[in-house]
Structures are given as structure tokens and as C-alpha cells.
Symmetry: C2
Subunit: 474 residues, 2 copies
């Protein structure tokens, strides 16, 4: 009897100490969106990579939800980021270019002020909001994160290979690979600014310590805002080439420099989770982890792997837009989810999970994943549009993907950049044939018809505004 | 003080109830080796497949060890099985053929009596031993499992596509694919015998229920032998084509018939673990899960996927011989292991884990993995030989793999079967470049020299006996 009573007391004590922190806080969740750059579908242990060691992300995938058919809204950087932050296809706000595919240091525009970001809606609802890392939605002050709903910004305004100096070469076809196979890139060759809020604080940014600094900033933000609700947008600018790691991680991975970079990012996520747990915030914080597009294959061993998927960054094959999707924390019900998801779904999902309404004076492309995250209900998303150069190259509907235009990217391999408007569309069943090998168009004309109808309906409400990536200042 | 004392009492009670079963048993472990047929490196959720749902194997991989650079000793069936069961390269015992690659229903020979199998050594040490599933080491009585150390056998003697009747076609290039794309294969077209011990009990074996029956036999064997030490060799004959599933699993997987088959195997493993736990045997039983070789790619959507690896079954590219390796149970320390391992290592590992000596009057190719399994010590294996047609086509030493001969397989794609003896070997760093894309031979002549020395030394002690796969009775 004494034992029983004491057990009860012990249990009560444990329960009360576990929940004490929660009960003092609002019913809203905290959110951390980790968005990495050019990491492929196959670059995490839990997504099948043999030699990149990602214990923290693997644990998140196992304890939370691993989404295996999760898509970025674009196969390149700027439109992909615009889509995640606004929940809308970039064709709706000018953030996808007809010829220029991303913003550059001399680009004239950025994400329009009229767009509403996740951060804006959360900030309006009392959240502390921070953007850490790569922005790439306009480098001029009026386009920077502080003007898009973030309380604080620490990061670089565009890609880490831009603003080349000293005759540095960056890109496929320009001997980057020949130069760097056995040599580390140097920050000094890229005149990339590091910005805090609206001001440049370091130029060129020391990229060797940048991943570490971004992770630390996230940890610090959690520590300083643990009594408020917070939203952290942590957009690492790596593993986009040129690759940089801190000395702590150099040579750590069997996978070489690319693996070192991923392992440093993974390590940082471990520190973030540790900080959450230390403050009893893991039960009311959700971490989302994903990538902006597939691997930049021409960089060969300095690029990632799309695993079993075809092609990579820049293309509308699966390797270009399908990315790892990991959702962890709070009440997420563990499991592997093979329903469709999109980075655009993050916006409505986060808002719905904290009972915040979505502004509804505009077309949203995101669809809330809440019921899948909490109860494994089937994903409501049925369609993925694969846009390139403001055109629909391909459409996935349920398991079927039709290609109407095919094109390689970065002229890798040589000659592959030719745009081919197909007379007969290609059709693949991606559930059965994720590598897009076996064309089944001939036997399924009714599915192609269905997809054509979907495209017609989609275009009815589109009215794309001006291409904002085209104009340059100089 | 009362609380403390009571807590101590409770703890002691918990500890004693957990270990009560163990203390009554010998210090030897039980072993279950699950060996599937033609499943690719990329066909499990935990190895990156997006739409094959393998919760039981994923859980094993997460709770136990997931080996990401684990190899079969051959890219086809018969030599692969001989190697696993004997811990020796098949070139040492005639189980690899110069022209005929596996045993057929009219083959004259089988695994020689002089060979010692894992089962024999364990049986000599008091284990109850059972072989369930595909044997493929000789269909004649004198070669069957009962004559190789097993107390009981229930399974088919060769591949499930052999003994074709009714004009059935089986093989790539013979329109199997065109016929079966939208149709289930039928058992009646393959006159495969189901054998219990040494007798045929069913012919043709009903293959639709065969996976289910094999799993049940394993569960039953655990139940009936729970008070003894046991060794179960569960060699599913699927997902080798033609693919069969029970009605319970037909249409269950998003991946189609191939996925249904894998999910039925995974389900059976769940039943085995359930039975182990029910009998408190999970703490002293080790389950090993692996595949005999890579996916049989010409069967297209009826074949599996090698994930990010190049090529598949029949070739000495990574997709032919690298397979998932999962080790679960007892005191195995959880983790992802990217050190080298081989199916041949299973023999010495199991024996060492139960303190049973290896017979040492012969050359063993297996190397114990015990210290890696228990303590994450680096794997002792440094070399993988890729044999085909009794020749060394390729050798991996540490991270480097040299190809001396390259050849496709099954003439898929058309014309790929041509054997090319390379004037200049190809060299890949598999840790950095698992897909074998970037030849680094020119820059690393010293590594090629080292590998050539390894081959010379290896050949000194080889003395290959007669090719036992060549001769046929009719």
C-alpha cells in the first residue's frame, strides 16, 4: 500500500513537472522551418544515402513524419523560396523568370510588398519572427526580410556563388570542378555580403563559419524568446556550391566536402533540438526540414544526389523538385507519409496548427497538412505543377505525371539544354516508377485528358503578373 | 527515504522480471537470417524507397544497425547463397559457374558435402536448425538442407521461375514484361516443387501463399523451439520474378505488385518479432536481414530498385552486389554503419557471438562483425571481390573500387552484354561517388597498384576446384 501510494505520488510529480511549462504558455505552437540549398532527395541517411551521416535528421524523420513525395514549387532558388514563404506558386507574383531563372546582385526587383509571408501572419498574431540565412527574394532594402514580416534578419541576400571576384569561376562549364576537386573554395573569391537586419556587417562573408553561425543564431533566438511564441526561418545557403565548412567538420564525412557540409547542418539541428528540450519546448515546437530544389549535378562530387530520382536542379524531372520533407515535434504522429506534399503547404499548415486564419483575398496554392501530421489522414494534395520559365513543363496528378516539355539543365551533359516541346506527352506512374523510366502514355489517354483539363482550369485563374526577375539595374 | 527504498525495490523487481527468462537459458544467442531474392539496395523505406512501406524492417534498422555498404558475395543466386552459408567465396567450392551462372532443375551437382555451413556448426553446438524457403544449392536429395546441417526444411529447391510449363515465358527478352504488366503471374505455369525435408509435398507449389507460409513456418519454429537455441534460415524466394502475393497483400502497396511482395515479407518479419517478444526472446535473438543480389532490372516495374547505385543483378557494378544489411536484437548497439560488410561475414559473426569456434581447416573469407555490432568498432573488412564467371571483374579496397572487366547483364538494354576487358581499369571512390560516375584512375595509379597486389595475393591461395554449375543431367 505504501509502495502504491508512493508510486502515485511519484507519477503525479513527474506528470506535473513535465507539463508545468506548457500550461503557462499560449496554445500556439512555435515553428522552425529549416530550408537547405540544393540538397538532393537522396542526401540524408533516412532517405538512403550510404555515407552521409545525419543522425539528428534521421531521428527527426523516425520520431516524426518522413514525407517521401514532398515537392519544392520550383527547381531553382528564387521561385522556390517565394513559394514556401507565401504559399503561392511564383507564377502568381512574378518570382519566376522567363529567361533569368533567379535574382542576381544586379536585379532590379524582389518579392513584392503586396505578398503576404508566413512571417507576416505569425507576427500579426504575436510571434517573434526571425530569418536566418539565404534570402534570395531581393537584395535591396525594401525587399529584405525586415520588410516581409521578420523582426530580425541575419544572413546573405542571394546565392553564395554570386559577386565573384579575382577572376573566380563558379559555374558548370567554367572549370569549377577541375579547380576544386582537390581544393577548398575560398570565401574571399565571392564578394557576398553578410547582412544583419538591413545593414551589411561583413563583406565578403566568411563562409567557412557561416553554417555554424546560422545554427548558433537559431539556438540563441530560442533561448532569448523561449517565453514567447516564435517562428524561425533558417535557410542555410549551403550545400549550394561553392562548398564551405568550418574546421570542426572538414574531413569528418566519408562523403567528402559535400558530406562535411551536410553533417555540419545536421549537427546544428541537433543543437537546436537540444535547446528546445532544455527549455521544455519540444512538445510545442514543430520543426520542418526540406530543401529548395534538387542537387546541382554538374558540380559532380561537389553536388548532392537525387537518389533513385531522375536528373536534378533546374529540371522538371523528379530529381529537380522532389526533396526530403521531415516534420517533427509537438503532436505529430510518427510515420512515413507517401501522400503528396509541397513546400507551399507549409504556410497554411503552420497557421492552421496555431488556429490562425489564412488571409483569403488571394489565391493560395498551399493546402494544410494538419490532419495528416496529427492523424495520418490522407494528404489532400492531388496535384503538383512543374513550372519552368513561366511555362508548365509537367503536371503530376495523384500517381501520374505527364511531361509536355522536357529539357536538361546547365548543359550537363553537353547538349542537354535543348528544350523539346513533346508532340506526344510522356506519362509515368510515379508511385510504381519513381525514376520515370517507363512511359505509359499510349495506354492511358484518359489520364492525359484529365491532366489537360486540370491545366486548363488552373490557367483560367492565373493572370500572371510581370516577370520580376528579368530587369537589371546595370 | 521511504520513497527511495521503494524505488529501489521497484527497480530491482523490474530488473529481475526482465532478466528472468534469460537467466534460465544458455548464454548462446538465437539467430534468424532472412535472405530475400533479387531485392535491390533501394527497396526499403529506410534505404530510401518512397512508396514501399516497410515499417517492421525500418524499425529493425533504426533500433538495430543499418549497414549501408554491405555486400552479397555474388550478383546472382546460387553463388550468393553458397557464400552466405559457408562464409567462403564460391570460387573456393565450385559454386560459381564459368558459363552457367546458377543451378537449374537439370543440374548435376550442388553444394559439396565437404563444405561446412553455419547450420552444421550451430547444430553441432546444440542448436535446432531450420531452412525455410529457396535453397538453390542442389535439388537432389544429397544436396538438400537436411544433408547440410538443417533439422528441418520447408521450401523450393531452385528459383521460382524454373520448370516452366504451358509454353510460359519467363525471361527478359521473351516478352514476360509485355505479358504481365497488367496481369498476375500464375503458379500453374511454373512446375516448381515444394519440399518438406527431403520429399516433394506439392507441385506446382502454390506461390501465391508461399511468402505467408514461409513466415508462418518461422513463427511456428520459434514457438516450438523457444526453450532451445535455434537458427532459422528464412530464404524467401520472392521478390524474384514471377511475382506472387497472397490476396491479403494484393494491391496493398502504392508500388504495385513488386511493392505488395516486399510488404508481405515485411509483415512476416513483424510476426516473427512479435513471436520473439511474446516469448521474451528478443533480448537473446539476433535477426539479420539482407538480399542475395541486386534487382533484376529487365523486368522493369516487376523488378526492384538499386536506389542511387549503378546497374543491378548479374553485374559487378554496385547495384549488382550491394544490398541492404540490417542487424537487430540482443545487445546490438543501434547505429548506421558505413564500414564494409559481406554476407560471408555472417558465418563467423554468429559463431563468435555465441562463443562457438569456427572450423579452421579451410580458408574462410568471412570476417566477424561482432565488435562493430556490439561496440561500433570499425569494421575489419577492407576488401570486396566482385567475381563473375569465375573471374575477378572488380575489387573494392577501402573506399576505392577498381573495375578490370565490365559487362552488362541479360542484354538489357540490348547489346549491353558485351564483355569488355579494360585496357585501363576504371577507379571510383565509392564513399564519395557511390553511383560510380567519376573515374579517378588517372590520378591514382598507386591505388590501382595496391589493388593489383591484393589480387595477386588472393590468387596465390585460391586453387579453384571444378565448376560445379556446368554439368547437366539432360
Amino acid at each position: 500500500m505504501i509502495i502504491k501510494l508512493n508510486l502515485l505520488l511519484i507519477s503525479l510529480f513527474i506528470i506535473s513537472s513535465c507539463s508545468s511549462n506548457l500550461s503557462e504558455k499560449s496554445d500556439k505552437l512555435n515553428f522552425i522551418v529549416v530550408f537547405v540549398d540544393d540538397m538532393g532527395y537522396g542526401d540524408l541517411g533516412s532517405f538512403g544515402h550510404p555515407t552521409i551521416n545525419t543522425p539528428n535528421l534521421d531521428k527527426m524523420a523516425y520520431e516524426g513524419q518522413k514525407w517521401t513525395q514532398f515537392y519544392s514549387a520550383s527547381s531553382v532558388c528564387t521561385p522556390s523560396r517565394a513559394a514556401l514563404l507565401t504559399g503561392r506558386l511564383p507564377i502568381r507574383n512574378g518570382m519566376i523568370g522567363s529567361t533569368t531563372r533567379v535574382l542576381f546582385p544586379n536585379s532590379k526587383y524582389g518579392l513584392p510588398d503586396s505578398e503576404i509571408t508566413i512571417a507576416e501572419r505569425l507576427k500579426e498574431n504575436g510571434y517573434k519572427t526571425v530569418a536566418i540565412g539565404k534570402w534570395h527574394l531581393g537584395h535591396k532594402k525594401k525587399y529584405l526580410p525586415l520588410q516581409h514580416g521578420f523582426d530580425y534578419y541575419f544572413g546573405i541576400p542571394y546565392s553564395n556563388d554570386m559577386d565573384k571576384i579575382n577572376g573566380e569561376t563558379c559555374c558548370p562549364g567554367k572549370q569549377y570542378w577541375q579547380k576544386y576537386q582537390n581544393q577548398r573554395p575560398e570565401s574571399i573569391n565571392y564578394n557576398v555580403p553578410l547582412i544583419e537586419n538591413n545593414d551589411i556587417i561583413e563583406r565578403p562573408a566568411d563562409q567557412t563559419t557561416i553554417t555554424k553561425r546560422f545554427s548558433s543564431k537559431a539556438v540563441e533566438f530560442i533561448k532569448n524568446n523561449k517565453d514567447d511564441n516564435f517562428f524561425i526561418y533558417l535557410a542555410h545557403n549551403l550545400p549550394h556550391t561553392p562548398l564551405f565548412v568550418s574546421d570542426d567538420f572538414l574531413g569528418k564525412s566519408k562523403r567528402g566536402l559535400y558530406g562535411d557540409v551536410i553533417e555540419e547542418i545536421d549537427h546544428g539541428i541537433g543543437l537546436i533540438i537540444k535547446e528546445l528540450k532544455k527549455n521544455n519546448l519540444d512538445n510545442n515546437t514543430i520543426i520542418v526540414f526540406t530543401s529548395d530544389n534538387g542537387p546541382w549535378l554538374p558540380f559532380e562530387s561537389h553536388s548532392g544526389s537525387a537518389g533513385l530520382l531522375r536528373e536534378g536542379k533546374g529540371t522538371t524531372w523528379e530529381g529537380g523538385q522532389r526533396v526530403p520533407g521531415i516534420f517533427w515535434g509537438a503532436e505529430i504522429k510518427p510515420g512515413v507519409i507517401s501522400g503528396l506534399g509541397s513546400t507551399m503547404d507549409i504556410f497554411p499548415t503552420l497557421l492552421e496548427m496555431s488556429n490562425i486564419s489564412i488571409v483569403n483575398n488571394r489565391i493560395m496554392d498551399g493546402i494544410s497538412m494538419k490532419n495528416t501530421l496529427l492523424n495520418h489522414e490522407p494528404s489532400k494534395r492531388e496535384t503538383i505543377f512543374y513550372y519552368r520559365s513561366r511555362e508548365i513543363y509537367a503536371v503530376r496528378h495523384r500517381e501520374f505525371k505527364a511531361h509536355f516539355i522536357v529539357q536538361g539543365s546547365y548543359d550537363y551533359p553537353k547538349g542537354s539544354d535543348k528544350k523539346i516541346i513533346l508532340e506526344k506527352p510522356l506519362l509515368y506512374n510515379l508511385n510504381i516508377d519513381p525514376s520515370e523510366k517507363y512511359n505509359i502514355a499510349d495506354k492511358n489517354p484518359e489520364i492525359l485528358n484529365e491532366i489537360n483539363t486540370i491545366i486548363e482550369n488552373h490557367k483560367k485563374n492565373l493572370n500572371p503578373p510581370k516577370d520580376l526577375l528579368l530587369d537589371m539595374d546595370w
